[in-house]
Amino acid sequence: MAFNLEVAGGVVKSGRLAYFASEDKPTLARKALAAVWGTPLDGRSGEAAAAALAEDLRPMSSPQASAKMRLHLQRVLTRRALEIAAKRVGAAT
């Protein structure tokens, strides 16, 4: 995935959460973004976005990875990315 977030005063103001290697094209996760939009970017953001992700993604299955596994991995990456993002924002302010 590739995230681009704008954060002001510690709060998510806007951004785009793009996922790849699970759908048939790079895909924006609007529900996952909505789950963190307007909320403080902190240790809970990742779980909130990851929980909403099933509404955004319908991963393809392949011999290499099932749809279930791909969704799981995207959720893991989402949590990790938002943890890093929260740390960076914390470090920048």
Partner: protein, 208 residues
Amino acid sequence: MKAPRFSYVRAQSVEHVLELLEAHGEEARILAGGQSLMPTLNMRLSQPKLLIDINRLGALGGISLEGGAVRIGALARHAEVAMSPVVAEHLPLIAEAMPHLAHVAVRNRGTFGGSIALADPAAEMPACALALGATFVLESTKGRREIPSARYFKGLYETSAGPTSCWWRRASPPRGLVTCRCSWSLRAGTAILPSPAWPSISRSRAAW
């Protein structure tokens, strides 16, 4: 395996490319970095009659700041993008993602435009462009079009670059695999972004 026989033309100008594409239609493919196209030729997944080599077209390369936007030329190599100070400053997401893209040899030859044109659903740069809200500028004999990234990617190796362009017919992509057909057409480049000048906003980016 080896590639089937094909003719080869080294394009002299962008206009030359457009003329060739118009003349040869589906039977022509653009050769940019060749990092996806050449393997598909060797596997005979793609069997074009003509390769149009755009590697000498300097106008298609380069990375610059233009009017508050970052312009990445279609022919800019991934390695150039990775090392660009402009990209590092204004598009840190792309700079951060680049080391994940394939490996050094591929990044030395592969082009940013080729990756966008191919639209591999597992590729890094299309997702980064989408996350950054890039705009793609495409050119055909009918003129120039700008397509926002959110409307550009349509499906497996499929983009909206095609249907309205005279050189594109979606009728029969060989085995569903489309090659770097529109790499030429990202002439004015990608990633047109608002100037990242929000001093009061701390921004955060992450890429895998």
